[in-house]
Each structure stands twice: as structure tokens, then as C-alpha cells.
Symmetry: C3
Subunit: 378 residues, 3 copies
């Protein structure tokens, strides 16, 4: 590795950042188990008793809608002997979450309400021995979970990330994401570190090489500068493009509350640590990452459309196929990088060209989060 770089180039992280299990464990502890984590689509737990089990950092968490309409989250660990309480990824219960081992049963607020012989153990506090809670918030039609004892500011970390990118919160509110319906969902199992996926999402220097369909819709991407490079900027559709579709054919109208300057534009937002937001005039594409190992990440991608579009059973193929192709092209590229991260030729890392220089902000943020003097270490 050259030790001094010419002005055109900035350094990336060293290769071990993407392969070392100890670094990954640190990231789980100090990032994914400390920050707000975008966990499920709120409509996936629409009614009281509906639940999902999700992986947050290294924890299994139950996200369940309560009888009061609020969403609760609990560590998926019975307080008695530690069995998983919910063993399915999704389901619905009437009144209680019941452990299958010894039948300890918890209400939707986590309180212990029944167990064999419980009446003979009056000294057991029903809340102290209830399910251990995690923090929750709903925004944009998603449920965020934080498994830390003290959650960071949702307004600073989550809303702030969107504002920093788009300029104001009104810009995203106009898409009314909480009112859109899920038109398609695809789960990708990516054999690459989660940071390679973020870095890939943040830059467009690769667009001309691997994304012919996307560049055809958004010609400015051929120049290599991502929309995320500039605050508030949305990439403009090409002159003959009628919609954000794989062939440029028309989409499904325009979300009526958009501002005129948001039409015929594509916006991308990264909300650390695990959410990507893509906004186009007639739909939105939201991607949640779940890191499972230093070299493996699950990505859940939702395509959201206006409810009547989904209800009418419209053919969404041309819309969904565009970003599904983009995703596969991107994840293939990340998987090309992962095995080389352990090479001595990458021990000092690689380089960022000018249109990638903003990735250095992500690296600085990471370094601060993982530093021993960071407030994340409490």
C-alpha cells in the first residue's frame, strides 16, 4: 500500500474491518445493539396480538402490537429458564405470549400473567419477572427497536439523518410513507460485510459499469456522482423516461402530495445503521439490513405503492424489476469484494476517487462509534 496518496484519492478502511470477527462483535455491541434499528413494517403487526420476531444485533426480539394499539418489543427469552417464547418469524396471539416449555405466559405488555403453580409463589413480581422490554418507535410506517438500556435520541439519529440528506423533514413527509402499501417484498442473502453494502449504496462511481438499466433511467448517474453526494439533490429522469421502471415505461401515477420539484426525480437516503430509503414519484423502496456475520448480511426490500394501486392488483413488475436488478448487481459486486478483504494486498485498504470522497464521512462516523472514548461506550 502506498503510504501517501495523491490529492485525487482518499483511503478506505483497512481490510480487517470487513473480516475480523472481533470488529464485527464490536459493531454488533456498539452500533446495532445501541442505536435505533429499523425492524419491521408497521402493517406487518397491524392488529393487537400480531407479532414478528426479528434479529437486532445478536438478539432475537419479539415485536408485538398491544391492545392499546402501541407496538411493544421484548427480548425473545423466557424469564424462567430461557426458552425462546416465539419460535415463528410471524404470527398472532389472542391474549398472551406463552412459553412452550413450562407455560409461563405473558400479556402483550410483557407482564407475567400465568404459570403452573404461580398462585403458590406470591412473592414473584409479575413485572420484574415479565419479558424484558426493548424500546420502540414508529415512523414512516416502520417500527424501530432499540435494545440498549438508554436509547439515543430518535429525533437526532433517525429523523436527523433524513433531514441532513433531504434538507427538511417535509420533503419525506410528502411521500406519506406510512400510508403506502407493500406491493412487493424480496429478501436477499448477501455474502458480504454490511459496510460494503452501505458503501456501495452511497456511491455511484460503479453505476456506469454495473447498472445499465438504472443509468438509462437516470442519465446523470453515468457521470459517477450519486444523488447522495449533494444535500437535497434528486437525480432527474432522462428526457424520454416516463417512469421509474426497468424499461422507462410509465409507472403508477404520482403520489399526490409531492412537491412539483419532487416529480421525475429519484432520491436516496441512508439512515444508519440499517435502513436505505429510495424515493421516486409513484413509489418508494425501503431496504433493511440485518448483519449476521462479518461476511453475511440479510437485506429485506419493500416496494411501497399507493394503497389503491396495490388493492387494484395492478401489474407492478416493471417497477419492481428495476430495483431488483439494481440490488442483485450491487450485491454481486459486494460479494466480489468480500474475499479480497483478507488479502495482504488490501491490508492497508483501497482508495476513494473524488466521486466517492463522501464515503469518508461514513468511515469517520464508524471510527467514532467504535472508539473506546465514544459515548457509545457507557
Amino acid at each position: 500500500m502506498t503510504t501517501t496518496l495523491p490529492p485525487s484519492l482518499l483511503a478506505t478502511l483497512p481490510g480487517t474491518a470487513y473480516t475480523d470477527p472481533a470488529v464485527f462483535a464490536h459493531e454488533q455491541e456498539l452500533i446495532f445493539e445501541r442505536m435505533w434499528f429499523c425492524a419491521v413494517r408497521a402493517s406487518d403487526v397491524a392488529d393487537a396480538g400480531d407479532f414478528r420476531t426479528v434479529t437486532v444485533g445478536r438478539e432475537s426480539v419479539i415485536v408485538v402490537r398491544g391492545h392499546d394499539g402501541a407496538v411493544n418489543a421484548f427480548f425473545n427469552v423466557c424469564r424462567h429458564r430461557g426458552a425462546r417464547v416465539c419460535t415463528e418469524e410471524a404470527g398472532s396471539v389472542k391474549r398472551t405470549l406463552r412459553c412452550q416449555y413450562h407455560a409461563w405466559s405473558y400479556d402483550l405488555d410483557g407482564r407475567l400473567v400465568a404459570a403452573p403453580n404461580l398462585v403458590h409463589m406470591p412473592d414473584i413480581d409479575r413485572v420484574a419477572f415479565g419479558l424484558r422490554p426493548a424500546h420502540t418507535r414508529e415512523w414512516l410506517g416502520y417500527v424501530w427497536v432499540c435494545v440498549a438500556d438508554e436509547p439515543p435520541s430518535f429525533s437526532d439519529d433517525v429523523v436527523g439523518a433524513v433531514v441532513t440528506r433531504l434538507g427538511d423533514v417535509a420533503s419525506i413527509d410528502r411521500y406519506a410513507l406510512q400510508d403506502l402499501a407493500v406491493g412487493a417484498h424480496i429478501r436477499y442473502d448477501v455474502r458480504a460485510n454490511w459496510k460494503l453494502i452501505i458503501e456501495n449504496f452511497m456511491e455511484c462511481y460503479h453505476c456506469s459499469t454495473i447498472h445499465p438499466e438504472l443509468v438509462s433511467v437516470l442519465p446523470e448517474f453515468a457521470k459517477g456522482y450519486a444523488a447522495q453526494y449533494f444535500v437535497g439533490h434528486g437525480a432527474e429522469f432522462g428526457p424520454r423516461i416516463e417512469g421509474f421502471t426497468v424499461d422507462g415505461s410509465p409507472g403508477h401515477g404520482t403520489i399526490p402530495t409531492l412537491a412539483p420539484e419532487q416529480d421525475r426525480r429519484y432520491y436516496a437516503v441512508t439512515v444508519r445503521p440499517n435502513l436505505f430509503i429510495n424515493l421516486v414519484p409513484d413509489h418508494a423502496i425501503l431496504m433493511r439490513m440485518t448483519p449476521l456475520a462479518a461476511d453475511r448480511t440479510i437485506v429485506e426490500c419493500d416496494w411501497l405503492f399507493q394503497p389503491h394501486i396495490v388493492a387494484q392488483g395492478r401489474d407492478l413488475t416493471a417497477s419492481v424489476e428495476l430495483f431488483d436488478r439494481v440490488n442483485r448487481q450491487d450485491f454481486d459486486a459486494c460479494e466480489l469484494c468480500q474475499p479480497a478483504m483478507s488479502s495482504r494486498a488490501y491490508a492497508g485498504g483501497g482508495v476513494l476517487v473524488p466521486s466517492e470522497h463522501h464515503l469518508a464521512d461514513f468511515h469517520a462516523w464508524l471510527s467514532a462509534r467504535l472508539s473506546p472514548t465514544s459515548p457509545a461506550h457507557d
Copy 2:
């Protein structure tokens, strides 16, 4: 985790005891490679030259019947260059155990008796360069192996465990286990720590939840107290129960040497570290555990009946199915617990209700075995 527990509750082990590879390696070294390990049914090596290869702790061991009728055990490692001598799980040889690599051959007492050019190497001591022996004992129709240099007292550790539970040795002798025949054998591959399996076997607080068939045969189990909770106690069959079968239908007579108070009773005994004994009037169910990893344990279960019952080809289905169901119900429960052992919500462990308080004895025993000042550390 609450730091002070109400009187109803005692603490379990912390979660890491079930997941940490270093703890597991310690258990292998200080428990399974130091104690008497119930290895094979004696009738599986009935005749001279019959052998079985078994895993004891982290060692492969050959158990072979000698020409004098005694059972010998050897490390399954050729003294020359270390090849496995026996590569099959079971087999029979005429006179020698012969290594397939360089044909070093050992008699059934482990003595080196032949090798290419051996006559030109007269300075090789045939015993010193014989197979390395392990200690063996036969009891209850099983062969126990100890791979430690100095075995602990068989009488204290193995016979003593039975006496402590049943009150005297005569109580088990009356079942004449050494004379029974294997009517059925099932091997279970359980994705859980061996200690979860022991804890499960020792308590009956889960019986009413997961064992409907067993509780139907032994109604007192519905109260949550295991037979093992009381010295000498056997759980009584329900009034309309005719045998220890999946539907309460009659079994296959009564072992004639039983005492009257042993009829219509179920007794369970845990012989640490790896044997469970279940005694009912007409048969016995013996289960040997082989831990393979912190999260994986093999369980071999034998159903033993009077020899004429097996010889006559009687239908044993109703008898075997009862405990096969119990086993599957139990192992499913253990597998529910294993993944949650690494949660921060279980870092301080779980709790034991009053009918589980006797599990604390097992935890105290474990802690003593693994302590650096234990006599197990020699």
C-alpha cells in the same frame, strides 16, 4: 437480571455456561475425560473380538471383548503414526486389531504383536508400544470407560449415584438389568447443551405442559414434582393405567424379581455425567449422552425387556412409543432454550421454581468439578 431473588426462586447457571466453547472444553477435560462414562451395552460386544468405537470426551475409544471374556478399552490411535485403528462404529476381529496404514497389529489386550520389519526392531517393547489402554467396568449390563490415568471410585461415583437416589443397591439389582435384552434402540441428535438435557430430565415442572401421555400414565407428575425430587420415591401409575405404554394399555408382565412396592411405579435415576435410568415394572429405558459441542449432544436410548419377550418377537410399540414421545418432547424443549442462552437477557441466567430447586445440587456439583481447586485438577 434482578440481583436479589424472592424466596420462591433460585438462580440457574449463567447463559455462557451453555455456549462458551472454553467452558465446554473444560467440561470435556474435567468431567467426561475424568469420570466413568457409560459407553456401550455389554451385549453389543458379546463375543471375543467384538468391538465398538465410542467417543469419550474428545477421544475415540475402542471397546473390545478379550479372549478371557473381559472387556478392554483402548485409545483408537495407532502407536506408530497415529492412524485410527478401527474405522467402523462396530465390528468383529478374529485375533488382532490391525492398523490399515502400516499394518501394525495389536492383540485384544492391546499388545503389539506384528508389524512389517518388526523382527529387525527387537528393542521395541511390545507392551509399551501397544495400544494405550483406558479403564473399564461392567455393571447393569453396560460397559463404563474412564480415559483418565487414575479413575475415580466406581463404587462411589456410579453405584453411589444409584444408591443415593433409590436408597439401596438392592432396589436396582431386582430389575436384573444385566439380564434384560435390547428390544429397541433410538439415536437422537439434539442441538442443545448436555446440561440442558440433564436439567430437563431432573425436573417435572414441564410435564404438565409438554408430556400429556406421560402425565396420563403418572398423574402425580401434573403437580410438577419429579420422582427424582424425593429419595426412594417412584411415581405411581394412575388408577386405570394397566402398563407403562403410550395409551396405558398393558405392558409385558412384571420382572419377577421386583419387590411388591416396585410394581406400578416409575423410577428415574441420573448417573452423572452421562446416564439416565428409567425403571418400570416390565422394562427399563437407559439413555447415554455423548456431548459433541457446546450446542450438540447425541443421546442413545435403549429399551430393555425380559429376554423371552424380545425373543418371542412381541409387539413393543406401545411401550417404546411412550418414552420416544417423551424424549422428542424433551429434546424439542432443550432446543428451544439453546439459542437464547447467548442473549444478554439471559446473561445472569434464569430462575428455578420450588419444584426445580433440587437442580441447584447439580449446579453446585458442576461448579465444584470445574473449580481450579477441585481434586479433578490433578
Copy 3:
């Protein structure tokens, strides 16, 4: 383990040398990534632009023929963001090796020749940011690669190994290995440590036990002494043997440049760390090892014949089958040893009989290479 051995016996390495991942990592660093590694058959990259990707130590390396006819080798890591540049095991390019992620393109000398926006980054040195090179040499029709910064002497380490075994370099030159053609190629995936494979190749004490076909062709092997035991010695064909074939039937003539004393003889040479050479009158068998883990090694075996023999499509089955059987017999034996290497019964290692005593040289060499005061540690 006995602490003092009788004169007939020498000690082997201890068992951990074959199982410990830390030892294996040291071997990768200090042996496979420091020494000359026999990588590919030169004819596999015959023309300009032909490439192979090979694993050298823990590195993926591109071996490619340049326009000047010389072979170059490069770390298979894009200098930009670390993607694998060549993703296929073998292929051919016209002018450049092009990364699939951002289209950085390198000529066959490794120089950066094209990239999106590269003209706007004139401060990027095309050589400094070219592919990182590795050292190469061609000999005997093979390409050797060294990924160390400073390669050791090829003449001492590689040519020297052949001379030490055969007595002079002329002895191997007479086989004209660089002019022979590949008549057959088999890849073996061996679940054993690479040192077990070397030790097996170096001794013939096992020949009478596991190699009936080989001993039938080379009767002196029945005595247990390998050809490699004596400098310059070749094992002689049995009196009724007409060729080095599975049934002793005639082979395919004699390489015309051989000396008379090389006819009807088999020679074996070990070139550390990864090449085995077998020489017989009408062909040669060259085997390259690639260690992947402490318990896994890939072996690539080439059968080389005079070009006209291959060109005429002669039936090579009887020739190929002999050593293919020998290989499978050997690798089965190595796989028998691997699992016992972790036994406490092998903690102190095994023993070498007189006909294996020369293996102690290999062990002394290993020990010197891995010692902290070795010149390999620079």
C-alpha cells in the same frame, strides 16, 4: 507417550502440529507465502492473455501470460476498492484485466490503463496503482510464484532440492519435462494436513500394506525403503514388468534423451513446500499441493507424456490408473491419521521406524522455518 525411545525409533512431530489453526497460519505465512510455490503448468497459460487464478498461501493470485511471452503474476485484488479482478479459475483476455465493479482496467503487465473519469485524476500513478505484482519463474514446464517481497534463491531452494535428491540437474533435464504434454489431470480434495501428505510421500514403509499394484511394479518397495531414502537411487522395475502401468503392461516407449541407467527405474523427488515429482521412463507425474486448512489440502496431479503420444490419442489408462490408485490409497491413509492427531494419546506424537528415519530431516526443516529466529522472519 514414552519419553525415551529405543534406538530403532525417532519421534515425529506432536499432534498439535497437524491441527492447531495457529500453527497452520504460521505455515501459510512463513512457508507458503515466503517460498517459491509451484503454481500452474506453463502450457495452461500458453498464449498472451491466458490466465489462471491460483491460491498461494492465503492469497488469490492471477498468473497471466504477457504480450512479451513472459508470465506475470498479480495479487487478485483491485487497487481501487478490493474486488476480485478475475473471478474464474481460468480464462483469456485480449488486452486488459478489467475489474467488474468500477471498470478499473489493467494491462498484462499490471499497469492501470483505464478507469471511469481517470483522465480527470492525472495525479494517479499508473504503476503505483497498478495490480500488485508477485514474483514468477518458469522451470520444468511449470510456473512458480513467490508472493513475498523478496523471494528466496530459486536456484538454491527449487533446483537445489532436485539436485540434492538426484545428484545433479542433468538427471532431470534428460526428462525434458518442459516439452512433455499433459495427458491426464486429476484433482484430489484431501481431508488431511499437508504435512501428513508429504510424510506419506517420503516413506515407503506403508507400501507393502496399501500399494499392492505399486509394489508389484517395484518389488524393492516391499522392503519398506523409499527411493527417496538414498541419494540418486531409482527403484528398479520387477523382472517381468514391461512398463509403469497398473498391470505391468508396456507403457509408451522411453523418453529418448534419458540415460541408460534411468530406464526401467522410478525416481521420486519432493520439492518443498508443495511439489512432488515422479519420473519413469515414458512419463512423469507431477503433483502440486494447495493447503486450505489445517485439515484440508487440494492436490492437483498431472500425468505428462511425450507430445506425440498425447497427440495421437493413445490410450493412457493403464499408466494413469497406477498412480491414481496409489494417490487414493495414500490420501485415504492420511485421512485415517488426521482425526487422531488431536488425541491425548498422540499429544507427544508417534514414532518413526528405521526406514522412516529420513522424515526427521523434514521435521527439522519445518522447525527451522517456523522458529522465531529463522531468516524466514524478516
